[in-house]
């Protein structure tokens, strides 16, 4: 039994990778970059592989999704704040990045690649820069809803004619949390509260994530759903009977959900991090994301967008102060817990 502690130490040490000298690895292999990615892996992995091929810098990625099954990368970044492990955070929506900026997790970096990205999509202090956006869309089942009957505004989802036929993702999480906060900013608290009360009375189905919304619409469990362009497009490409409407082209504007990229404060590989950020903000990456199944809309009007969606200069995006909207998320979450009975 005297050997038992030694055996335990051996068992731990024999785990692959254990005992490797990370500091030495840092010094010996500077051509590494660690990126935490919340953009769906099916879309982000090819982009990162291209980066590896072009630069020779090895990418070590941690993926996640916005589905309500994990607590997400933002918490990992917050927990690692005192001793950063990541170099770059690539987020698929603004809320988490803004929370991280607020908590001192991010470092400023003004990328030269972002010069031609509109100012509204850049943090003046350089803590984040946006690129390629998804659009929040109303998805509809084409066998159950004719194209001409599909709603044109998010507010139409509370119309009694769609009673028990609407699905949305849990508004406390992911891109839906930002969208509902944006609605509160755009409509004001009173009107927004009223809308969600009517939505609740209309029997809205609240599900685990945007892809679940899409699947329910495809299966006809719900005729309409509020989700993202990439979710719907994947189903369209797969031949599913689903269509989408970009809502609120007239009125408050089309809700857009750009990717945000940021450098991490105390990043172990700052130079590689800058190279990665420059790459992600390049027109090439916007073009790749536009051509991919994600059908993301480039923020530069000069970059060709997806064939199935209009160019950014042909519609009015919802005008948002991202910081102000993100600051409303916690309050809106608490309001909606009560209103929607979450």
């Amino acid at each position: 039994m005297r050997r038992l502690p030694a055996l335990i130490a051996i068992a731990l040490a024999s785990t692959p990778g254990c005992g490797a000298p990370p500091q030495g690895e840092r010094a010996a292999a500077p051509q590494n970059v660690t990126v935490y990615v919340s953009t769906d892996r099916v879309f982000s992995e090819p982009i990162l592989q291209t980066f590896e091929q072009r630069t020779g810098i090895r990418v070590r990625a941690v993926y996640d999704t916005e589905e309500t099954k994990s607590t997400g990368l933002a918490n990992r970044l917050l927990a690692e704040r005192e001793r950063a492990q990541a170099d770059v955070f690539w987020s698929n929506e603004p809320v988490r990045t803004l929370v991280l900026k607020d908590r001192g997790v991010l470092a400023p970096y003004h990328s030269p690649s972002a010069r031609d990205i509109p100012a509204i999509f850049k943090d003046p202090d350089g803590y984040w820069t946006a690129f390629s956006a998804r659009v929040r869309v109303i998805a509809y089942n084409k066998t159950l809803v004719q194209d001409k009957d599909a709603p044109v505004s998010v507010l139409d989802l509370a119309d009694p004619k769609w009673k028990d036929q609407v699905a949305i993702a849990d508004p406390r999480f992911g891109s839906t949390s930002f969208h509902v906060a944006a609605l509160y900013v755009a409509l004001g608290d009173e009107k927004a509260d009223d809308f969600f009360r009517r939505l609740k009375a209309n029997g809205v189905k609240i599900v685990a994530g945007n892809s679940v919304v899409r699947d329910m619409v495809v299966r006809g469990e719900a005729r309409l759903g509020l989700t993202d362009t990439d979710d719907v497009n994947v189903a369209i490409e797969n031949g599913a009977p689903i269509g989408m409407v970009m809502p609120d082209k007239q009125g408050m504007g089309v809700p857009m959900m750009p990717n945000l990229v940021s450098m991490i404060a105390g990043a172990p590989h700052p130079q590689a991090a800058r190279t990665m950020i420059d790459y992600l903000l390049s027109p090439d990456v916007e073009a790749m994301l536009a051509r991919s199944a994600a059908v993301q809309i480039p923020l530069r009007a000069s970059v060709p967008g997806p064939a199935s969606l209009p160019r950014i200069d042909t519609f009015t995006p919802m005008t948002l102060d991202y910081g102000k909207t993100a600051a409303r998320v916690e309050n809106v979450t608490k309001r909606l817990q009560t209103i929607l009975g979450l």
């Binding site: 785990t15 990992r76 690692e80 469990e221």
Partner: protein, 508 residues
């Protein structure tokens, strides 16, 4: 032995307790015990907690209804006759809970009836996934019930009376422990309730993390779940004490049915097992037929390797340390032993996300700890933090079955405490400890919540790998991934089943 046990307790304190303490006192956040207590008075939180407890009780009841009869059949038949059935019936336990939930939605979702997305549906899906724990515990315990006791009982009493008065009390401690584990696992799950739109209390923990980013609040909100688990452990203890009529000595073999009865029972349970696995697998396979095969080539060998290596290393370390802690439990006075068990139970009920974030806070710092954090060893540490409490509980349960007389004889003969431990306790409990290793391995194989938080960049186990791929995939592709995951989860089980010989099958 004192040194070894001291080391085990130190590792336990560092890996299992310290992260939770750090979450409560080492983090900043708006959460306070008063705020949580105030919130608990609100109707909404009471409703959520009622749903959670209802889910836990429903799942436990279902696991008993399926697991106990299945365990009886397995125990009463010759191991060779029920080898296939046992193997198939364990498969649901090896699957991440989203797989049966997904199968459920594929089969019934299109009907969109109220019951498809409901509390009873979540009970069914989770109960189906967790009943093998009860089944294995029932079988293992029944095989140790001396045949002579039941035979003597049958001379004067009906079979039902023999079951209620002799068999059930003798398997009571094992059964109550398995019921408790099922209850706690159901209590802390939110993947299945989330998919089936059931509002449960664990979502409060998730909300504190993912919507408010408040570590302290998330931990405080998790405490009521831990408290309920502790209450459940008291109930399990009371049941075990009420039912326990004495120790079951090793070396006895349990009753087996007559050959003809065995044949019929074995055939019936094999058919049931085939149906239990084939129906969901078939539904998913049908769904997987459509669509482009975008992920067909995406089986990650690396993820499979990680799953097997991390889980094997984690299960081994948990059983090593759990055996030492269990040995302490077997020898300790009653009161400290019960306190230790209560602590183990409460820690096991803490949601994985709280453990994971706490682990990062504790281990991601300069020095040796930080160096380990950057390696794959952190995954093993995370599994240790999550599963050592339950591992210690289970190992303790097996070690306590060693008759005191055997140990006393060894001591009288001059054996040292170390020799007594290795040659008496470990040797006589080796099959039970092997069963604990298997359960730990299976639970670790299916873990996503913890692994996704701590796995080093560029590394993932199969669960995380599949999970990060399925988010935006069409249903047909999710079905393909679910099938792959089913296949790979079954591989280690198949290996163990193939390696098992008739004698070693008793280890189940």
């Amino acid at each position: 032995m004192k040194l070894a046990v001291g080391v085990a307790w130190s590792v336990f304190a560092l890996c299992c307790v310290y992260p939770i303490v750090w979450m409560l006192f080492g983090t900043t956040g708006s959460g306070s015990a008063e705020a949580v207590a105030r919130g608990f008075v609100a109707q909404r939180q009471r409703d959520l907690m009622a749903n959670t407890i209802g889910l836990g009780l429903g799942v436990t009841a279902l696991a008993v209804s399926i697991g106990v009869p299945a365990g009886i059949v397995l125990a009463r038949c010759h191991p060779r006759r029920v080898k296939l059935a046992r193997f198939l019936l364990i498969v649901p336990l090896a699957l991440p809970s989203y797989v049966p939930a997904f199968a459920w939605i594929v089969v019934f979702g299109v009907r969109a009836s109220w019951w498809v997305y409901s509390l009873p549906a979540a009970m069914l899906v989770l109960g189906f996934g967790l009943f093998p724990i009860v089944m294995l515990a029932t079988e293992a315990a029944l095989r140790r019930v001396p045949a002579r006791l039941e035979e003597a009982g049958r001379l004067v009493a009906t079979p039902i009376r023999v079951w209620l008065r002799i068999s059930l009390p003798l398997i009571g401690p094992s059964l109550s422990a398995s019921l408790f584990i099922v209850f706690v696992l159901a209590l802390s799950d939110f993947a299945v309730p989330g998919l089936l739109r059931v509002r449960v209390y664990t979502m409060e923990v998730f909300t504190a993390f993912a919507a408010i980013y408040d570590f302290r609040l998330a931990t405080l909100v998790a405490l009521p779940i831990a408290a309920i688990a502790a209450l459940a452990s008291v109930a399990a203890l009371v049941f075990a004490r009420w039912s326990s009529v004495g120790r079951v000595d090793r070396g006895y073999s349990g009753t087996t049915w007559r050959r003809r009865t065995q044949s019929i029972a074995a055939l019936a349970i094999t058919l049931l097992a085939v149906a239990a696995v084939a129906v969901p697998a078939g539904a998913i396979a049908l769904e997987a037929r459509g669509g482009q095969s975008r992920f067909g080539e995406a089986v990650s060998v690396e993820a499979v390797r990680n799953t097997v290596v991390w889980s094997a290393a984690g299960a081994t370390v948990v059983v090593l340390l759990g055996t030492l802690l269990g040995y302490w439990r077997a020898k300790a006075p009653e009161r400290p032993a019960h306190v230790a068990e209560a602590v183990w139970v409460m820690l096991f009920a803490v949601p994985a996300a709280v453990v994971g974030v706490g682990l990062i806070g504790v281990w991601n710092r300069p020095g040796l700890l930080g160096d380990m954090y950057r390696t794959e060893a952190v995954v093993v540490l995370a599994y240790l933090a999550r599963f050592l409490p339950i591992g210690a509980l289970l190992c303790g349960a097996f070690l306590r079955r060693v008759p005191p007389g055997v140990e006393e004889a060894a001591v009288v003969a001059g054996a040292s405490s170390t020799r007594t431990f290795t040659h008496i306790f470990v040797s006589m409990s080796r099959r039970g400890l092997a069963a604990v290793w298997l359960v730990m391995f299976i639970l670790m194989c299916g873990d996503v919540a913890l692994t996704i938080l701590v796995a080093p960049p560029g590394e993932a186990n199969l669960g995380v790998w599949a999970y990060t791929l399925i988010a935006n995939a069409p249903t047909s592709e999710v079905a393909k991934l679910a099938l792959m995951q089913m296949g790979i989860a079954v591989l280690p089980l198949a290996g163990i089943a193939l390696l098992a010989r008739d004698g070693s099958e008793q280890a189940w």
